[in-house]
Every structure is written in structure tokens, then in C-alpha cells.
């Protein structure tokens, strides 16, 4: 079997409040293959979001290593990490976090500003990403003029426009009604299936979890045994 | 009352923003107070002048002189009690940076005219008896660390040469607001010297200070005095001391107007800062207000609450600003003493500062309070979602 895209070994993280030590992640080891669609589930406070944040390079760890594409991101400095993220990670947030004063097109272009593409190339890539999420006709609209589902799709376009190594999604359907949620999940499924994007999703919505291929459960910072989202598939 | 506590809590909900607003208001109000104090200081001469004193000078301008011989004739006018001759000497002590007012006067009559100038009797006597003696204000003496018996020299500008003199008396103002930074010495000293060196300039004075018996007759007596000298070589212009001082102030009226305008500009700046804070606060809490309305709070009550918050912030700033005014004024007074001998914060200025603080508090809350009254509950909820 090919080496996993992401290799996490003995990851630990704890919060210190005064003399109290509260463990958040306890000795987590995990492999994620390229092209996988993984859902991290667990009760509130289980550490799933923290694990996601660590993988995405936006939170620090106390011990362990996170190898992504051969790079142990735990060892990177802050500015190196920022540069790494711009090339390798696409983000989808629960509340979309689009820039209200920028149009949909401009929002999608944002991550491309961190590359060396020309203005014209940036526009083309952004237009392609918007087309992939079926929102080309809303390119000039501001987030305030879009529905929740549409905003999330713009966010997804933003997440894939740099062709990142992994896409992380933190509760992507948390703020959406059922129809919009289904649309978003279908989109993520397509991205994974047709474009081969590696997607790691945190959710407490069982429907969302069902859209993924593999489900891993966290409880009090510990990872449980993996099981497929669809029991009929083999691990 | 719960409402008051609520208002207080809301005002300081964003502690940093509240503190910054208070600070902004305070700083600007201090500037306002400083400006008003400068304006007051400019007018201090007017405030200190007396209605029972007249000033007679050459009708052409203050820079022309009058014959000393006029004194006899002025004394004979009905209603005139005391006449003291004097001139602006305009001497320089060390250099221009050490500027202070210096005049020559006829000492005995001058003391009679100015009970505000209070020097210990033995010093006053010593001054009168020494022709080269000098009478200095206590603030002036403190500024240059002069003591009784010190000899100082003035370099004449209008009357050239070096003029040494000995400090024989130090006076205090017997009335608050009277200048304590002037140096007086003897007109006879000047005149005797001029008789020897520039005889054509001897026997001349710059003005006569005149004490009258009945202040209500000031205008009439002034006319009588001027009538004496119509068609003579030097025609005179006599007016009350107050009118004379007002004339001085009016010469700089353009600057004073500019300062006044600027003081109101400052108020506008404060208003901008306060209104901004209130607008932000109101906008952020639109949802809250909607909730309160559903609970039954009327638009009027909510407006009052906003007004209360605005007043707390602006009045806190106003009190702070006015309180800071006195120490800051003292600081400025030391540097500005040569321009403004009297530099005190008046009670009026403090009240004005507080008043404007209150006005700003009301105005800043005006538009947000109006908006909250007319706030549609559904619209507000829609805005949050």
C-alpha cells in the first residue's frame, strides 16, 4: 500500500489553567490516505475540532508529530507554517467566514493572492472554482446577498481554488437547513470522488458523517477504533 | 435602582471603548478650557480696571507724548482728585526673551491712585525716596529671583542707554486678578537724564492716570479734560481705564476671534468622538433592544437608557477634563507668564466645560435614541440573523 498522505504519531495536547492541566488530545496516532474522506465525530469537548486544527496547522501540539506529504508540520516555524497552509490546506468553516466586503469572486481569489499567479490567472482559477460549485452566476454578489447554503459553497470554492493537498471542514453543515446541507455534502462528495480531494471533516451531524467514507470517533481526547461510514464497505 | 445599574453596566460594557471615549472627551475639554483661559487672560486687564480711573493720552496715538505741564491744568478740572504722570519705558532686561512690562511713573500720586498695589509701608517709602529705585511685582521678582537691594539694569529702546536701578519695594496685588509682573521706576529719573542728554525729549509723558471723585461722571469729566487741550500742539483723548484696556484688547480682536472659533471647533471634535461611540453601541445592541421591547420596555425608556449611557461617558470625561485643567494651566502659566501675567482658570470656564460636556452627551445620543424609539422589533431580529 502507498504511504499515507497524513501520518500522525503520538499527538498530545493539554490546556493549562493555573495549576490545572486539562488534557485535550491524548496520544493520538492516525493515518489518512490520499483521497480519503474522513469524518471525525464525538461529543462536545471530545477534542475533534482541536485535532482538526492541529492537522490543518492552525493550532500547536505539546508532543508528537504530524507528517503531511513528508513534512512534519510540528517542526515548522509560524511563518513557515503560514506559507505551508497557503499551499496545502483549504478551509471550510461552520459559519463560512467569508469577507463581507468582497464579492464571491473576490473571496474565492483571496487564497491565490498568496501565490505567484498573475491577476488574470487568479481570475481564471477563481472562475473555474466557482463553476465547480455551480455559482458562476453569483460571482459578483456579496455574501450578504447570498443564502447560507450559497455562502458555504463559495467557501468551498475558496477552499479548493489553490488545489490544496487537504481540505478541512469544521462543522460545514452546522448552520444550514436540510436542503442546503444536502447540497453541500453532495458537493464535498463529488470533490472527493471526481477530483480525488482528501477531505477531513469534523461534525456532530449524523447525516454529514454518513456522507464521508470513514468515521473516526473521539472521546475525551482519545481516538477510537475506525469504522466505515457505510458498514457494507470494507475498511 | 436596577435601571441605573443597567445603564452603568451598559456604558462600560466595552471597557476599553468606554475608557477611550472618556479620555477623548477629557483631553478635548482640557484643550477647550485652556483656550478659554487664554481668552480670559487676554481680557484680564479689562477685568482689573477701575471705573473711577481715567487715562489721558495724545489723541494721535499712544506712541505720541504729552507735555508734563498739562498736569497742572488737568488737576484743576472739577471732579479730578489725583493725577499721576507716566510713560511706557519699554526697556529690555538682558534680552528680548526676558520680556516684562516696565513703566516710569510719578510715585507718590501713583500709589494714591492704585490701592491695588500693596507694598509694605517701609518699602514704599524707600522706593519713593530713592530716585533710582524700582518697584516690582512679586511674580516678576520670583521669576528672576530678585531681592530687595538688588541692582538691575534696563537697556532703553525708546530712551536709549543703560538704566541701572535698585529694587526698593516688592508689591502684591491687593485684589485678585491684578497684575503682579510689572516694574515701575521714577519718571524724574528718566526726565533728569533726558534734560542732560536729549533736552528736546524732556518734559514729556506718555499718559496721565487720573483719579476722579464720582465714577458716574466719568464721561463728562473726560470731555472737560479734552476740552482744555483742543487746538493745542498735543490734543488729548481721555477715557475710562476700562475703555482704554478694551481698546488694547480690540487691537488683537482678529486673533481672539480665531481662538474663540477654534474653541468651538474643539467641541465639535468631542462631539464627533462621543457620537461615534454611541452610534456603535446602539448599532451593536439593536438585537438586545428588540428583545427588551418584546419584554415590554417602551421606546421612550430605551431612549432614556441610551441617553443615560451617553451622559455617563461624556460627563465622566468632562469632570476629568475640567479637573485636569488647573494643573495644566499652572504648567502653561509658568511658560506664558511674559505674555499673560494673569493666567487663572475661572469658575465660569469650568462650568462652561461641564456644560458642554453635558450638551455633547445629549447630542451624541440623539440619533441613536431616536432610532431605538422607532425600532421595529422584527426588523431588528432580522438584522441579527
Amino acid at each position: 500500500m502507498a504511504t499515507p498522505l497524513i501520518s500522525i504519531r503520538h499527538l498530545s495536547k493539554a490546556y493549562r489553567r493555573g495549576t490545572q492541566i486539562i488534557p485535550v488530545l491524548v496520544d493520538i496516532s492516525l493515518d489518512i490516505d490520499a483521497g480519503e474522506f474522513l469524518a471525525l465525530v464525538g461529543p462536545s469537548g471530545s477534542g475533534k475540532s482541536t485535532l482538526l486544527n492541529c492537522i490543518a496547522g492552525i493550532d500547536t501540539v505539546d508532543a508528537g508529530e504530524i507528517l503531511i506529504g513528508g513534512t512534519d508540520i510540528v517542526t515548522l516555524s509560524e511563518s513557515a507554517l503560514a506559507a505551508w497552509r497557503s499551499r496545502h490546506v483549504g478551509f471550510v468553516f461552520q459559519f463560512y467566514n467569508l469577507i463581507p466586503v468582497l464579492s464571491a469572486q473576490e473571496n474565492v481569489e483571496l487564497p491565490l493572492l498568496l501565490t505567484h499567479l498573475s491577476a488574470r490567472q487568479r481570475r481564471e482559477h477563481a472562475a473555474a472554482a466557482l463553476a465547480a460549485v455551480n455559482l458562476s452566476d453569483r460571482a459578483d454578489h456579496r455574501p450578504g446577498q447570498l443564502s447560507g447554503g450559497q455562502q458555504q459553497r463559495v467557501a468551498i470554492a475558496r477552499a479548493i481554488v489553490t488545489d490544496p493537498t487537504i481540505v478541512v471542514a469544521d462543522e460545514p453543515t452546522g448552520d444550514l437547513d436540510r436542503q442546503a446541507a444536502d447540497d453541500v455534502l453532495a458537493l464535498l462528495d463529488r470533490l472527493n470522488d471526481e477530483l480525488g480531494k482528501t477531505i477531513i471533516m469534523v461534525t456532530h451531524d449524523p447525516r454529514a458523517a454518513a456522507a464521508a467514507r470513514i468515521i473516526r470517533q473521539l472521546d475525551k481526547g482519545e481516538l477510537h477504533v475506525a469504522h466505515p461510514a457505510h458498514p457494507e464497505e470494507r475498511l | 435602582m436596577l435601571l441605573i445599574r443597567l445603564i452603568l453596566k451598559n456604558a462600560f460594557r466595552h471597557r476599553l471603548r468606554a475608557l477611550l471615549t472618556i479620555l477623548g472627551v477629557a483631553v478635548a475639554l482640557t484643550a477647550f478650557g485652556l483656550l478659554r483661559t487664554v481668552l480670559d487672560a487676554w481680557n484680564s486687564g479689562v477685568a482689573a480696571s477701575s471705573a473711577s480711573r481715567l487715562v489721558t493720552r495724545n489723541a494721535i496715538s499712544m506712541t505720541q507724548s504729552l507735555p508734563y505741564a498739562y498736569k497742572m491744568r488737568i488737576r484743576q478740572v472739577t471732579g479730578v482728585e489725583t493725577v499721576a504722570a507716566g510713560s511706557w519705558f519699554g526697556g529690555i532686561y538682558i534680552d528680548e526673551k526676558h520680556f516684562f512690562a516696565n513703566l516710569v511713573v510719578e510715585a507718590e500720586d501713583f500709589f494714591k491712585l492704585y490701592p491695588e498695589i500693596a507694598a509694605p509701608p517701609e518699602q514704599a517709602r524707600a522706593f519713593i525716596q530713592d530716585r533710582k529705585g524700582a518697584l516690582v511685582g512679586v511674580q516678576l521678582a520670583e521669576r528672576f529671583h530678585w531681592k530687595l537691594g538688588d541692582t538691575i539694569t534696563l537697556r532703553g529702546t525708546i530712551y536709549p542707554g543703560q538704566w541701572p536701578m535698585t529694587i526698593r519695594a516688592i508689591y502684591r496685588a491687593a485684589r485678585p486678578g491684578f497684575d503682579e509682573t510689572t516694574l515701575y521706576f521714577h519718571w524724574t529719573y528718566l526726565d533728569e537724564a533726558l534734560k542732560k542728554t536729549m533736552p528736546q525729549r524732556a518734559g514729556q509723558v506718555g499718559f496721565f492716570m487720573i483719579g476722579i471723585d464720582d465714577p458716574s461722571r466719568a464721561a463728562a469729566i473726560s470731555k472737560d479734560i479734552d476740552a482744555l487741550f483742543i487746538n493745542s500742539q498735543a490734543e488729548t483723548l481721555t477715557e475710562t481705564e476700562k475703555a482704554f484696556q478694551l481698546g488694547f484688547v480690540a487691537m488683537s480682536s482678529a486673533i481672539l476671534l480665531a481662538l474663540e472659533i477654534v474653541s468651538y471647533v474643539v467641541i465639535l471634535i468631542i462631539l464627533a468622538v462621543a457620537a461615534n461611540t454611541m452610534a456603535m453601541a446602539a448599532r451593536e445592541r439593536a438585537g438586545e433592544f428588540a428583545v427588551l421591547k418584546t419584554l415590554g420596555f417602551g421606546g421612550g425608556t430605551l431612549s432614556l437608557m441610551l441617553l443615560g449611557e451617553s451622559m455617563i461617558l461624556s460627563m465622566s470625561g468632562a469632570i476629568l477634563g475640567v479637573a485636569a485643567l488647573t494643573p495644566i494651566t499652572t504648567l502653561f502659566a509658568r511658560t506664558l507668564t511674559q505674555y499673560f501675567p494673569v493666567f487663572d482658570v475661572s469658575r465660569e470656564t469650568m462650568l462652561l466645560g461641564l456644560g458642554f460636556g453635558a450638551l455633547v452627551g445629549v447630542l451624541a445620543a440623539l440619533v441613536p435614541a431616536w432610532r431605538v424609539r422607532t425600532l421595529g422589533i422584527a426588523a431588528a431580529f432580522r438584522r441579527i440573523g
Partner: protein, 388 residues
Amino acid sequence: MAVPFAYSWRNLWTRRLTTALTAGGMALVVFVFTATLMLGEGLRQTLVATGSPDNAIVLRKGSETEVQSGVARDAASAITTRPEIATTADGRPLAAREAVVLLALTKKSTGKVSNVVVRGTEDASLPLRPQIRLVAGRLPRRGTFEVMVGENVAKGFAGAALGQALRFAKRDWPVVGVFSAGNTGFSSEIWGDVDQLLPAFGRRGFSVVIAGLRHPSDLAAFKNAVENDPRYEAEVWRETKYYEKQSEMMRKFLTVLGVALTAIFSLGAMIGAMITMYAAVASRVPEIGALRAMGFPRSGILLAFLLESLLLGGLGGLAGVGLAALLGFVTFSTINFQTFSELAFRFALTPGIILASLIFSLAMGVIGGFLPAVRAARMAIVDALRQG
């Protein structure tokens, strides 16, 4: 790796009221700052232009102004024979013995009295001042009591218009001409025949001697000769230098007062900017988190917010300067503390002043916006995202 400019600019536009109030506060401060500088510059321009580098002015030693000065008749006449002085077409020295006295006239705008310079002149006085042109009426005739007045006097003082007569020293002095001296101090003067004015003012000696030098570099020799002659007790200045000194005290006073006041106000405006930017940062925390997550560096965030406050400062600056520029239409007339005489000058705007004002305004924006921008940049990504 910059956050786009549009981000900063559009955010200001979206919160228009706040932007207007904050920039408005800064505009007012800039207005006062610029106006003060304009006043000082106008004063300087007026007084510098009043003198000519070709002329020397002779005063009594130790006197600070023409009004205080006195030069005896024989001394004055002797001085005009000096070889450094140029000669006119008809062979006479280009020098004038003048008398300067202050006359109290009623100012139209205040109804109160102010001191106007009355200058007793000789034939050479006018050629010595090429800035002066007759604009109405005619020149006063020598040997008469006729006078001509500067534009500012005719406009600003009662009874001094063409065709009227001033009354002082027991007689009437008809105003037969009005002259313009551009933006110089002479526009605030009244000119007449020195031989008529001296006795009217009860004087025998002149106030000053104005000498036109053959060459500006002749000043040294002239100065040397006149100042070292024990008979004269005089001092000599180049005319331009003399007038420049006349404005020193006023300029210093205006500048110090104006700058001190502006410094204090600017604190208020900067606090206003700080409040606005803190609020801006607070309302955009999730976006900041998203931008950082995407890989934008902390410096990029810092610069984006600094740019926003810089734009605020820029808006305020432009508005403030624009407002102050309107003052260019206003003439400011007051008494010059140093000479005790009336002086009219304008608010003068120069490119240097515009630049200084804009820099000042931008600085206010940057200083006010600095701490909030730092707060935006220092946020931990996860904390910022949690606030969404």
C-alpha cells in the same frame, strides 16, 4: 502577500457613519493645524516681501522698531551722502529720510481704535519701494497736506477712503490717492510729505533713513561706516532682514499657540481613530481568523488594518486641508505685537504646508490605529475562529 487594498477601503465605506465621524474629527484637527501654519506663512510672506534686498534701513541704535527710532536731522542728511548709496537719474542720492508715527484710527470691523503707520516721505521714498503702485486717484503733492493711503487702510478704516480727509493734529489731511503694495506691510500704511508731518507730530528729527544701495553687497561697507561713526549712534539693517525680524514675535506666538493646541486636539482625534479601529477589529474577528488560516501572515493583517486607519487619516487630511484652503479668501488684520501697528495679511497656503498637513493627518491615523492593528495581528487563529 498583501491583503487586497479593496479590503481596507471597502470596510471604511461600509461603515460610512463611523468613518465620517472619525475622519471628520481628524479633519477638524487638521483644519486648525493647517490654518495656523497658513497664518504664520502669510505673516512671513507679507513681511518678507515688504523689504527689498537692495535697501538698507538706518535706525537709532538699540531701537527695535521704526516707531521707537529717531535720527537727528544733520545725521540723517550726512548719511544720505554716503558713496554706497545709488544715485537717481537726476544725480540725487537714492535715499529718503522718513518719519514714522502711529495714528489711532477707527477700524470698521470692530468699531474700535487701532494704530496705523503714518509715514512722512520724501521724493525718493516711492522709487525705493517698487512694490508700490498707485491704483486710484493721484500722488500727493509735495508741500501740501495731501496724503495717500494703502489699500488695506482705505478698506478697513473709517474716514480713510479716496476723497475723504483724515483729521489729526488739528487739521485735515485729504486722501487724494490709494496705493497697492501687494501683499506687503505697506498696504497698511498712510503716506504723506515728511516736511508737513514732522511739525504736525511735534518732531524735529526723522525716524529712519532708507538708503538704496548701488549693489546689495555694498551693505557691509555702508553698515560699517554708519554704525562706527560716533556722531550717529545708529544701526543699519538690510531692509528684508529688518522686516523679517518684525514678524518674529508674532510668528512665534501664533505658531507656538497653534501647534500646542493642535497637539492636544490631535490626541482627541487619535483616540477617536483608536476607538473606531478597535471596533472594526472586534467586528471582523472571524474574518481575521479565516485570513490567517488561509496563510496570510500576521504582518499582512497588521498592514491591512494600518492601511485602513491610514486611509481614515488621509480622508481627514484632505477634508481638513480643503476646508483650510477656503481661508485663502480671508484677510487677517491685527496689531503686530512687536511694532504695535496694524498689519493685514492673508492665510497663505503653500505646497509645503499641504504636505505637512497630510503627513500630520496620516500620522494621526497610523498612531491611532496602531494598537488595534497589533491586536488584530496578535490574535491566535483558533481563538479568532471560535468567535464565529
